[in-house]
């Protein structure tokens, strides 16, 4: 098999794993909140860390909530779920309305809901990795922060940089949209998931995908 074709298959394989994981997570969230959750096709690219940070220059000070888990066992990167403030409040109100009948914003409860959602995402992701290519991974409990987008990304890149031989990371990004029941009342819901993969993560996933297609 030509190298280009093999690379294409590996990229498609990673995309498919992400796609299944995100779809499973979306279904869980949809059931949790009684809302329709749609996901984009995963966008996967290898980027230099400095160029990536520079590409965010217009968004570095954007006010976001981030839910972060660190992968353990076979892989070691980070999965981060970003929500803008408006979407975070919408999420909170939706959960409170459903479970308590109150359409108000309560940050502590919202943080708990958000943690649960990040947990669902990370668990769906590790399950998909295992089911599709036999890569066993676990993850830390989610940690939530409310700050500048750039400060979260800055910290992740700094922590990862000793593990990045060529100072490149593989980024996988999935966007989410949430709608009311029966797709009524479409709500702007700006959330996206990013998996920051180290060199060793990429190598491991590539080997596992290659083995699974031989």
């Amino acid at each position: 098999m030509a190298n280009g074709t093999k690379s294409r298959i590996i990229i498609d394989g990673i995309k498919e794993i992400i796609n299944v994981a995100a779809a499973n997570a979306s279904t869980s969230i949809s059931e949790l909140l009684d809302k329709t959750v749609l996901i984009s096709v995963p966008d996967l690219k290898q980027v230099n860390i400095y160029e990536f940070y520079a590409s965010l220059s217009d968004y570095l000070e954007r006010d976001i909530y981030a839910g972060i888990v660190k992968f353990k066992e076979s892989i070691s990167g980070y999965l981060v779920l970003f929500f803008d403030e408006e979407s975070f409040k919408y999420l909170s109100k939706t959960a409170l309305t459903k479970y308590l009948g109150e359409n108000t914003f309560e940050e502590p409860i919202a943080l708990d809901v958000f943690k649960e959602i990040v947990n669902i995402f990370a668990s769906s992701y590790t399950t998909a990795l295992y089911n599709f290519i036999g890569v066993y991974a676990t993850h830390t409990p989610p940690e939530i922060t409310h700050d500048f987008l750039g400060s979260v990304v800055n910290t992740i890149l700094s922590v990862m940089t000793p593990q990045l031989y060529n100072e490149n990371i593989l980024l996988v990004k999935v966007d989410f949209r949430m709608y009311g029941n029966n797709n009524e009342n479409p709500q702007k819901f700006d959330a996206w998931m990013v998996h920051f993969m180290t060199d060793s993560d990429v190598n491991l996933l590539c080997s596992a995908i290659e083995s699974s297609i031989q």
Partner: protein, 179 residues
């Protein structure tokens, strides 16, 4: 050395003002300025912004530093400002070439936050703490006083240094202040 002193609180303003002569440092960058220029770096997390300046000659340098030092001699140093140990000697040398009196250099530091617990290493210290500690050690070795700092905690910071006044403006998600 005195602790960070808040001189003024201002309403939240964009850090980049088109009326100012601004230079912006990305991760691992070192930038230099003179007289009426301002030096900016945005959204620090565990990274630190280290400013060295000569307030008489009105020259300054700002580094956006990611790590205390290379883990091994084979570590790639693609950016001189990536490590404390590479940034500081470079800043001193270049400031001297720009006319600074190295005996009159002063330092200000901001950043080094712990945004989440996974940034803690096996030695139970965060990268932010290690960055700040290494910068303090090295500045002491070079005899450069740290006249103000706003470090650690768990908040992101953007910073802007005014070469003409020596003031460092710090912006967090909730407030803006000068040290």
């Amino acid at each position: 050395m005195s602790e960070a002193k808040i001189l003024a609180k201002e309403n939240m303003k964009p850090m980049i003002n088109p009326d100012e002569k601004a230079k912006i440092a990305g991760m691992g960058d070192v930038i230099f300025g003179k007289k009426d220029e301002v030096l900016i770096t945005l959204a620090l997390g565990s990274c630190i912004a280290l400013v060295l300046y000569d307030d008489k000659r009105k020259v300054a340098a700002l580094a956006h530093i990611m790590q205390p030092e290379p883990l091994s001699s084979s570590d790639k140093i693609s950016k001189i400002g990536k490590y404390v140990t590479t940034a500081i000697p470079y800043m001193i040398t270049q400031l001297h070439k720009m006319g600074a009196d190295i005996h009159n250099l002063k330092a200000k530091i901001a950043g080094g936050a712990s945004m989440f617990v996974y940034a803690i290493g096996s030695d139970n210290k965060t990268i932010g703490e290690k960055n700040v500690e290494k910068a303090e050690q090295l500045l002491k070795k070079y005899g450069i006083p740290i006249v103000a700092k706003d470090v650690l905690g768990n908040i992101g910071r953007s910073v802007k240094f005014y070469v003409s006044t020596g003031e460092l403006l710090i912006k967090t998600r909730n407030e803006t202040y000068k040290i």
